[in-house]
Amino acid sequence: MAGAAGPGSGPGSAGRDADDSLYPIAVLIDELRNEDVQLRLNSIKKLSTIALALGVERTRMELLPFLTDTIYDEDEVLLALAEQLGDFTGLVGGPDFAHCLLPPLESLATVEETVVRDKAVESLRQISQEHTPVALEAHFVPLVKRLASGDWFTSRTSACGLFSVCYPRASNVVKAEIRQHFRSLCSDDTPMVRRAAASKLGEFAKVLELDSVKIEIVPLFINLASDEQDSVRLLAVEACVSIAQLLSQDDLEVLVMPTLRHAAEDKSWRVRYMVADKFSELQKAVGPKITLNDLIPAFQNLLKDCEAEVRAAAVHKVKELCENLPIEGRETIIMNRILPYIKELVSDTNQHVKIALASVIMGLCTILGKENTIEHLLPLFLAQLKDECPEVRLNIISNLDCVNEVIGIRQLSQSLLPAIVELAEDAKWRVRLAIIEYMPLLAGQLGMEFFDEKLNSLCMAWLVDHVYAIREAATNNLMKLVQKFGTEWAQTTIVPKVLVMANDPNYLHRMTTLFCINALSEACGQEITAKQMLPIVLKMAGDQVANVRFNVAKSLQKIGPLLDTDALQGKVKPVLQKLGQDEDMDVKYFAQEAISVVAQRLRKLDFPVKDSEEHRAPGPDKNHFLRPGMLGEDTGKFLSLMSRQHKETERLAWLLRGQ
């Protein structure tokens, strides 16, 4: 295969006539330099094809040198190139020649674009594994050293990510050199490099001997953690997690904890934020004893930090922190040492902190159990349900299921209701939209009776909201409620109210009736549709507003599949024909569209046997739609199918009726 590439690659190919298979490869090679970025990108992505055609020798001698110098290209091309080269070992002749891939990757590791550099480093790490120990010291380690002592900081930052892959397989002498290089990068003049070193410190520590960690890494860590730039210090917090995992409890106390304690009280809020953000990881790394003695007090401080960003980050970790505490004595610790701070945060001055708290606080219910929840958490929930910020209330409501499991939602219903009502009437329509989304969930948890009593009127009120998105969501909401409470409930509570709106003076409200019918007809079933909804729809065909009339046509098209021949022939068809003569163009258009669909359906109803045979013919698509189980399970899917794939739905409806 590889030999077919060209005259130079093998004796057998010399003097052979033109080879058809070369043409596509020739195009690919030429397009490596096409002006169109997309074509260049395509070519680069098929680099393995090109290499395969060229054969290993020409790939090494010609293709790679060319690629090494093509680092002027767009980022996305370079990114693709860096990625490709990671899997190229086989194409250059196997592990023995893996070092040939180093030059192009080395030049990619110095470009200014971080994503490209990172990808080049990733590929270099991959290739390093394919080097033999000898080749590693002969080729790879010198490359790392070159990068580490490069003039520009881009190369030095890239070097930071390569130490940990070559260290374990290097000889002791080389190991010492590698450590030396890493040390000097940790105190580089450029903050970029110190940051790169700090972010790789943990990874490097993991491959080092324990003694070296204690003697060399820990001092580096302490230095970086006290760097003059807070952007470096905050990365040392991350390193702290990895280093802590390597050390024994005693060493930890002596070597790491002073720095960590200091970081938690750093002058810069960004460092404290990082401590808060990494808190769960830190907690796991240092173990339960230090957590109790050191981390909990630090956490308390973070919860009352003067910077809101820090408080919010800490609050986000409350639940995880509590979950990870040792089960024995957990309740006491939370009750005595965490909860008092949380109580204060409920009335925090900053919205974001409160929003963060509202999103996690419900999670504490399961940890603290029923009694504590009722006594301590419930008052907090109730306070948050009355918060001035709608997102706080929303977060509480959206997590109600946690509470429901522990104490049942009824405990909350007294406060819940005013909160819901207020959100339902919030001035921001997005807030109203959000609360509508939770209605089906709430309905399920509160039960039909409570719902009818308190919330039903809200759901109906949304139907006449002045924002279309709300009316639309309210329509879908009704459908979901009907699915939950059943058709009987729909017939008594929902349908009459919806149908009354057909006489509303506002045409938008009249249209809402039609939209509701579209959504509800499937869920309500044939009987309600034919007996209650159809007459109203037909009546609205005489509406004076054209928008209503063409929506009548659309609705008739939609509910058509639920109707029988008599209704279609005797009622629907005449109305549609009349609309088909309408003076308004759009009405005419939609009426005619509906007529053709109805006519099609009537034909099928007239010849049911033949039709059904045709549709029972085997075929993957049809089988998919014919599975009755799926239909019964999910009416929602059914409806969406209906709107998108009209024909299929028609078949379905027909088959359903047949069962």
Binding site: I25, T190, E228, E307, E309
Partner: protein, 478 residues
């Protein structure tokens, strides 16, 4: 002896598309002579860059000048949205005097005029500021901004070109695709050096008001941009998000009493930045203390002298530029009549105040009428922080030696400085009788203003922008 460099300059300029508008331009070069500490007078014109046609158009007015960190590159931006970069010639044995000469290296259109349809607002293409990034690889990077949009540009060199196609021959003729018998991998051949400027990132839609400053942080990954009322913090790699760190916009715009006029990061401490206001005050903020820096940690203000209070006091106290010294210990502010040096450790008053053109105090009324009083003069430090420079009118610029307390007025103009001659100090007569060589206040040309100047970070080389002319002066190398 100097014909070589002169021709050289000419060649480069015609190549440089300095304007996009085709025009003749000339570069004059003269021998470089000296300025030693305390000897500010002997400035020599090194290079003058000017179009021959005196009826220059306003698009050519230089609006910013900035040396990069090594001083080997000098970037200028103009009202036409163009950026021109000059590169310093390396010393060579054959032409020992060519060192110090700056020639056009790259020219590109950074910003285009735009129209904001939502606000019915024209957005000028004028480059308000240019800031270089610390060099990170062989390429150079700079940020340029107009009123609304900041762009990150990469300026890189290319000296190799790939040759050899499979489907066409050397002359570009297509080959018969069915007669390809061998694959050709392109090979790289050397070619003439080509300098490319490519836009890398565009930071847009974050400023409601006009951007007056950008400043790169010493952490090398963030920078700030300041408009009249807000300061935003950006990450150099993230264009779709910026953080607001200062917002002085009052809830009710009628309560607005001051605007932000300039802002700059501390050269070494990544968490510290300052911003100046139209009221003549400077606030220093520490980003460590909180995410929003609405509360300053230091407030620099000089108590007003009640005896000199006038209708114009507030206008002329407005700070037009603030610059940290290279050491980070001091900062310098420029207001209309003076330049002040502040010690960061003393908030109550400046440690030095240098009068730039005190003789204008009596003319404030007419300067108000012709709007000159609102001119925004910039100022700059020399590499060792021992001298400072700022501009004035009549193509004059002023230099102050901080150690000897001596100062000098020099003129950047073609007519007055012959090649190889040292710049003569100029004097404006303030008293009744005009001495020889002095120029009277009344004959100053207020249309010839020097707003933008830059000082080489290591050497005594300065760049002075006088409307559409760029002058580069260098002290004597013996």
């Amino acid at each position: 002896m100097f014909s070589g460099p002169r021709q050289r300059g000419l060649r480069l300029l015609t190549h440089a598309e300095w304007c996009g508008v085709p025009s003749e331009a000339s570069v004059l070069l003269c021998k470089t002579v000296s300025m030693r500490a305390g000897d500010l007078a002997q400035w020599f014109r090194c290079l003058l860059h000017k179009r021959k046609d005196p009826s220059w158009i306003s698009a050519d007015i230089i609006s910013t000048v900035e040396f990069n960190y090594s001083g080997d590159l000098l970037a200028t931006g103009d009202k036409g949205g163009r950026v021109v970069i000059f590169q310093r010639e390396q010393e060579s044995k054959s032409r020992p005097h060519s060192r110090g000469e700056y020639n056009v290296y790259s020219t590109f259109q950074s910003h285009e005029p735009e129209f904001d349809y939502l606000k019915s607002l024209e957005i000028e293409e004028k480059i308000n500021k240019i800031r270089w990034l610390p060099q990170q690889n062989a390429a150079h990077f700079l940020l340029s901004t107009n009123d609304k949009t900041i762009k990150l540009w990469k300026i890189s060199e290319r000296d190799k070109r790939a040759e050899g196609y499979n489907l066409k021959d050397e002359d570009g003729r297509l080959r018969d695709p069915f007669r390809i018998t061998a694959l050709r991998v392109p090979i790289l051949k050397p070619m003439d050096l080509m300098v490319e400027a490519s836009p890398r990132r565009i930071f847009a839609n974050a400023h409601t008001y006009h951007i007056n400053s950008i400043s790169v942080n010493s952490d090398h990954e963030t920078y700030l941009s300041a408009d009249d009322l807000r300061i935003n913090l950006w990450h150099l790699e993230i264009t779709d998000r910026s953080f607001n760190i200062v917002d002085i916009k009052p809830a009710n715009m009628e309560e607005l009493t001051e605007v932000i006029t300039a802002a700059e990061f501390h050269p070494h401490q990544c968490n510290v930045f300052v911003y100046s206001s139209s009221k003549g005050t400077i606030r220093l903020c520490d980003m460590r203390s909180s995410a929003l820096c609405d509360r300053h940690s230091k407030f620099f203000e000089e108590p007003e002298d009640p005896s000199s209070r006038s209708f114009f006091s507030e206008i002329i106290s407005s700070i037009s530029d603030v610059k940290f010294s290279h050491s980070g210990r001091y900062m310098m502010t420029r207001d209309y009549l003076s330049v002040k040096v502040w010690d960061l450790n003393m908030e109550s008053r400046p440690v030095e105040t240098h009068q730039v053109h005190e003789y204008l105090r009596s003319k404030l009324c007419s300067l108000y009428e012709n709007d000159c009083i609102f001119d925004k003069f910039e100022c700059c430090w020399n590499g060792s922080d021992s001298a400072i420079m700022t501009g004035s009118y009549n193509n004059f610029f002023r230099m102050f030696d901080r150690n000897t307390r001596r100062d000098v007025t020099l003129e950047a103009s073609r007519e007055n400085s012959k090649p190889r001659a040292s710049l003569k100090p100029r004097k404006v007569c303030t008293g009744g009788k005009r001495k020889k060589d002095e120029i009277s206040v009344d004959s100053l040309d207020f249309n010839k203003k020097i707003l933008h100047t830059a000082w080489h970070p290591m050497e005594n080389i300065i760049a002075v922008a006088a409307t559409n002319n760029l002058y580069i002066f260098q002290d004597k190398i013996n």
